[in-house]
């Protein structure tokens, strides 16, 4: 069971898309897991053959539990019976704690989430990351907490009980898909952690996007609707390119230090009807052609709104973009999604009197904001980063 968010403790397996004997390749969707963020499609990280399903339908298991055993091609060739890791997302810690008699990934991918605080001794009780954080925050010795999770694992509620705090849990609904109450709980947990841990600083920059709008109008005039671009695609692209040039805004802060990311996976904040919000990743937004970026953005929005996000999309954004669209207000200041270190916010594009070449005229203007982590960067670098985004939007044909 991959960790699909900083505060995820467990997930419920609601659908298997493979059975023993099936061949799978890296990136295939093999299962659907229900979490607070809704139903997440779990991608497999290895290529091989499914040997055994370890977790049955409608079973809730803690993060780290192997879901299935696969035989990789290498193992098949070597004729060994060694087990492969459970289906997992790239960049998600799936390695089981030592107390689990279970297969462990040979080389677990780097985790975007704070790993367990201490290397657990073999005899030590398993503790969920959220429970550990809560215990640390209140200086509670975990040895004094009784675990009620599977195999005696200590979960968040156990620490809450020890604190004498009420155990507040979002009501869980049975159907896979979007559970807005649970999603709100997940947003609350992530944002509260962000505000607790990340010293934000905020910058705003007003940018003339008339050139971008005119370029889009001329491109779109010659295209049928399914090939048209939205200004949102240009916004994501400009942030992705700027992030590549300014690595202090692209990556993860964990274990007390910043780890810049070479890849630029832009989390796209997507509002969900009825009051939900998710920010799944648009992978390699700095490399894919703009038309493909737009097509992927449409697909991502559609899948997110219908409750079909993939595990890698939920776990590996390296920076987030949030945009209010055409009916919002002029400025928004985002809250960083941990363990990321920056979020760029775009307000509504408005027509304003603007000075161009010494003359005042009506121009399309957008407010771009940056909320960034002061542990990693300063306002000076942030200003250069924002200015770069604004500059890129002046030359849309080069995006």
């Amino acid at each position: 069971m991959p960790s699909l968010g900083a505060d995820m403790e467990a997930g419920k397996l609601v659908e298997w898309l493979v059975k023993p004997g099936d061949r799978v390749k890296r990136g295939d969707i093999v299962a659907v897991v229900e979490t607070q963020k809704g139903a997440i499609e779990i991608e497999i990280f290895e290529t091989g053959r499914i040997e055994q399903i370890l977790v049955g339908l409608n079973t809730e298991v803690p993060v780290g539990t192997p879901l299935a055993r696969i035989q990789t091609e290498l193992e098949a060739m070597a004729g060994t019976a060694a087990a492969a890791p459970p289906p997992s997302a790239p960049a998600v810690p799936v390695a089981a704690p030592p107390s689990m008699p279970a297969p462990v990934a040979p080389s677990p991918p780097p985790a975007p989430l704070p790993p367990l605080a201490a290397p657990a001794a073999a005899a030590r009780a398993r503790v969920s990351p959220a429970a550990r954080r809560l215990a640390e925050a209140h200086a509670i010795d975990l040895a004094t907490v009784t675990g009620s999770g599977p195999a005696g694992a200590i979960v968040y509620a156990d620490v809450e009980r020890r604190l004498g705090a009420p155990v507040a849990r979002a009501e869980k609904k049975r159907a896979p898909g979007l559970d807005l109450d649970a999603m709100r709980t997940a947003i609350a947990a992530a944002m509260a952690r962000s505000k607790r841990e990340i010293p934000h600083y905020y910058l705003e920059h007003q940018v003339d996007v008339t050139a971008s709008e005119q370029w889009l109008a001329s491109i779109n005039a010659a295209r049928p609707p399914d090939g048209r671009l939205l200004i949102g695609a240009l916004m994501i692209r400009s942030v992705a390119l700027a992030a590549r040039r300014f690595p202090a805004f692209n990556g993860f802060y964990r274990d007390g230090k910043f780890e810049p990311s070479r890849a630029v996976h832009v989390g796209v904040a997507i509002a969900i009807r009825g009051g939900g919000l998710a920010a799944p990743a648009l992978h390699d937004a700095d490399h894919i052609p703009l038309d493909e970026l737009m097509a992927r953005m449409r697909d991502l929005v559609q899948r997110t709104r219908s409750g079909r996000i993939r595990s890698s999309e939920i776990s590996d954004p390296t920076i987030t973009v949030t945009s209010l669209g055409e009916r919002g207000v002029e400025t928004l200041y985002g809250i960083i999604y941990p363990p990321q270190v920056a979020i760029a916010g775009f307000g509504r594009v408005v027509t304003r009197p603007w000075v161009v070449d010494g003359a005042i005229g009506p121009r399309s203007v957008v407010s771009i904001t940056l909320s960034a982590d002061h542990r990693v960067s300063d306002g000076h670098a942030g200003a250069l980063f924002l200015a770069e985004i604004g500059r890129l939007l002046q030359e849309p044909d080069k995006l």
Partner: protein
Amino acid sequence: MNDLEIRKVVKEELNNIAPEVDLAAIDPAADLREALDIDSMDFLNFVTAIHHRLGVDIPELDYPKLITLDGAVAYLAARLGSIKKQ
């Protein structure tokens, strides 16, 4: 295709975007973006769906003519009429 049939198609496609909204209760002269809480991506999906179903390619410049239910039906009826004549 008459106006009633066009209206049915438009409502079906709007319903795909905003399934929880009762379209019968929407003022046909209200701004759909406000009434249905739809964003530019939703609107693009709506225009794309209409293009696929009715064969009417709606240029961006004409988007303002489609922001109400009545406006969309009248626009599409006119466009379909002119296609037929050609």
